[in-house]
């Protein structure tokens, strides 16, 4: 060192680099500790019985996650049905139809604000609109005065009964989660659509295809991997959501699955159950974890760890699938 000042500066630089490195690693260290502690506590309770039996209030050793697994499954299926068409449609409108119009700008700003709304507020929205529908179906309220008699729901053929208001059914939960993930799906789809080069659209339009034909036959297929990745990632967020589901009345203790479908095979053999499942009571994996975690008994807290392992494995599988699809599509597509 010829200049003594440089020595100090150098030391400070090294310190700073180590501090930044330490910060990054401390976050990763925390993640590792979290996963290890949960694995440590939960693995002994993991078994096939844990996945195939119902919750138990008296003997924690017998408690299982079956109701939560099926509840989360139905929530996800219905959320896909509601949120994906609407989310993709909205993104198509914003990217392909509205050429930077005033309305599109308003929607765009609105989307970024919606993404910042706490999930519990969505829960309150769901509680008021879907579960209770402002109480207009209750005795002596608006609907009864308009229709002339008390309305309990809509009855359809094959014994399909849709309760009104939707009450604390799977469909209320799924609609709430749909509203929650909609901004995420829209933004992810927009990005996927934007990655399709304009020349593809120009070529298609120049060949005489209409706007919709261009979107349906060229833009959507080309951006599909990106869209699917975005959808899976947003669902992996939805599957861990707890607060909004508590608000819309997911049961904390339930010894039944939606539509009484307890094995995948029953999806085929019990069509009536499949039809009734969306309008049945439910619980979900994170709700069961929450319920176990707040029990005073230590044994239940260990069960919560086992529940978390199942939940995290499902999450990792979803994330892995999303990464797989993304990597695969990057190999195949070349413009």
């Amino acid at each position: 060192m010829t200049n003594p000042l440089l020595g100090g500066a150098k030391r400070r630089g090294v310190w700073f680099e180590y501090a930044c490195l330490l910060a990054t690693w401390s976050a990763l260290f925390f993640l590792a500790v979290l996963l290890l502690v949960i694995l440590w506590q939960g693995t002994s309770h993991l078994s096939w019985e844990f996945l195939t039996s119902f919750d138990d209030r008296i003997t924690p050793e017998k408690a299982g996650m079956l109701a939560g697994l099926w509840g989360s499954f139905w929530l996800m299926i219905l959320t896909i049905l509601f949120a994906v068409p609407v989310g993709v449609g909205a993104a198509i409108y914003l990217e392909e139809y509205s050429a930077d119009s005033r309305l599109a700008r308003i929607i765009q700003v609105n989307l970024s604000n919606l993404a910042g709304v706490p999930s519990i507020v969505y829960g309150i929205l769901g509680l008021t609109v879907f579960v209770r529908t402002f109480g207009i179906f209750s005795k002596g309220a608006l609907v009864e005065r308009l229709v002339g008699h008390h309305v309990e729901g809509l009855y359809f053929a094959f014994g399909l009964h849709i309760p009104l208001p939707l009450k604390t059914t799977v469909i209320s939960g799924a609609l709430t989660l749909s509203l929650l993930v909609l901004p995420v799906i829209i933004v992810a789809t927009q990005e996927a659509l934007r990655s399709v080069p304009p020349s593809i659209r120009h070529a298609s339009l120049a060949l005489g295809a209409t706007r919709w034909q261009t979107i349906w036959r060229q833009v959507l297929p080309a951006s599909l991997p990106g869209i699917i990745t975005g959808i899976i990632l947003s669902l992996s967020r939805a599957i861990g959501e707890t607060a909004p589901l508590i608000m819309v009345g997911a049961a904390t203790f339930l010894r039944a699955t939606p539509g009484d479908i307890e094995t995948p095979a029953q999806m085929l053999t019990n069509p009536q159950g499949v039809m009734n499942a969306p309008f049945d009571e439910y619980t979900a994996m994170p709700i069961m974890v929450y319920n176990w975690a707040k029990q005073a008994q230590r044994a239940y807290q260990d069960i919560a760890s086992a529940g978390i392992i199942v939940l995290v494995v499902v999450l990792l599988a979803m994330n892995g699938l999303a990464i797989f699809i993304r990597n695969r599509s990057q190999q195949h597509l070349r413009w």
């Binding site: 150098k10 400070r12 630089g13 700073f16 680099e17 930044c20 490195l21 910060a23 990054t24 976050a27 990763l28 925390f30 993640l31 979290l34 609407v86 449609g89 909205a90 198509i92 409108y93 139809y97 929607i107 700003v109 609105n110 989307l111 970024s112 604000n113 919606l114 910042g116 709304v117 706490p118 519990i120 507020v121 829960g123 309150i124 929205l125 008021t128 609109v129 209770r132 402002f134 109480g135 207009i136 509203l179 909609l182 901004p183 829209i186 005489g208 209409t210 919709w212 992996s236 707890t242 607060a243 508590i246 009345g249 904390t252 994170p286 929450y290 975690a293 807290q301 919560a304 999450l315």
Partner: protein, 324 residues
């Protein structure tokens, strides 16, 4: 459409005449359906605002709203929250919420910012490719897991021994453990938003600083971070807003302190979000004052987070440094 002249009959021409009035109609209807989908996001916002205002400020669907029974002044200035005696002062909830958010910010902002600086300025591309997705995993873990972890690990095995050294007692449920996990779960958010801001600083600025003889520390801490300051500020605001709205970790690890105003992070807290969860999971009758208080609290929460989000967007726009 007029029939276009064709030179040869062998050329398939049906493509040219496809735009009949029917398919034009279908095209326009498809566009309308897409517009409808897009407007659903606006409808959601309108729905949230309507629901919150309807039950808390002025009720239009039958019944009275919360602020028609409890004066908003009492709500906003009261320091007691006892629904059974009719005391609805929001300050105990507010101080708990801010306490958790502050601890969360103190954890997440330095760590997140330092990670962002490390990832963008120091890490090799290969390290970055591995560390970044791993860091994102922190954001993907459900919040209920964080709450559980704070309750069974952080409080008994980290905070208790630590504060035991100085003779302080830590409650089973405490604001500090909740704040710490909230902070950790938003590290990825601070890191990735700050990193975006840092990456937006043009390379020429760094090169100029190096050319003038600066070392990496000078470049990062004195050139890049100040240049990205607006983006970093916006990231911090968004992080605090997330921490304010965070629910499950606080519900599980923070407990529900009903004793009134408390600023001790080693004791139980009772945030706005955990109040909402507690009321909705107890058997409260729809239409009762307690039920309606839930909407008033949610409205306060919504206003706070919305203000911070808008503020952060404004800072991004207003103070963005533009470079050629």
């Amino acid at each position: 459409m007029e029939k276009l002249p064709t030179t040869s009959e062998s050329i398939p021409t049906d493509g040219l005449f496809r735009r009949s009035s029917w398919s034009r109609f279908v095209e326009s209807q498809i566009q309308n359906v897409m517009l409808l989908c897009a407007s659903l996001s606006i409808l959601t916002t309108v729905g949230i605002v309507f629901v919150l205002l309807n039950e808390s400020v002025y009720n239009v669907t039958g019944g009275t709203a919360f602020f028609q029974e409890i004066s908003p002044w009492k709500f906003l200035t009261g320091t007691k929250w006892h629904w059974d005696s009719g005391d609805f002062g929001v300050w105990p909830l507010l101080t708990s919420t801010l306490q958790v958010a502050l601890i969360g910010g103190l954890v997440s902002i330095p760590l997140g910012l330092a990670s962002a600086v490390y990832l963008s300025e120091y890490a090799t591309p290969r390290t970055r490719r591995i560390i970044k997705p791993t860091l994102e995993l922190l954001a993907g873990i459900p919040t209920v897991v964080y709450g559980y972890f704070a309750l069974i690990f952080i409080t008994p095995y980290v905070l208790r021994p630590l504060f035991g050294l100085v003779g302080l007692e830590v409650g089973v449920f405490n604001g500090l453990s909740a704040g710490i996990v909230v902070g950790i779960m938003i590290i990825p958010m601070v890191a990735s938003l700050s990193e975006d801001a840092i990456r937006a600083v043009p390379q020429s600025l760094r090169e100029a600083a190096y050319a003038l003889g600066s070392n990496r520390f000078d470049v990062s801490a004195r050139v890049v971070v100040p240049a990205a300051f607006s983006g970093i500020m916006a990231a911090c605001l968004l992080a605090i807003s997330r921490a304010i709205g965070e629910t499950m970790a606080v519900v599980i690890a923070g407990g529900q302190n009903t004793s009134g105003l408390s600023v001790n992070p080693l004791r139980e807290v009772f945030t706005m979000t955990s109040y909402i969860v507690n009321v909705s999971s107890s058997d409260v009758e729809a239409g009762s004052l307690e039920y309606k208080s839930l909407y008033a609290v949610a409205l306060t929460l919504f206003c706070m987070t919305l203000t911070m989000n808008i503020l952060s967007q404004w800072i991004m726009r207003r103070f963005r440094e533009t470079y050629q």
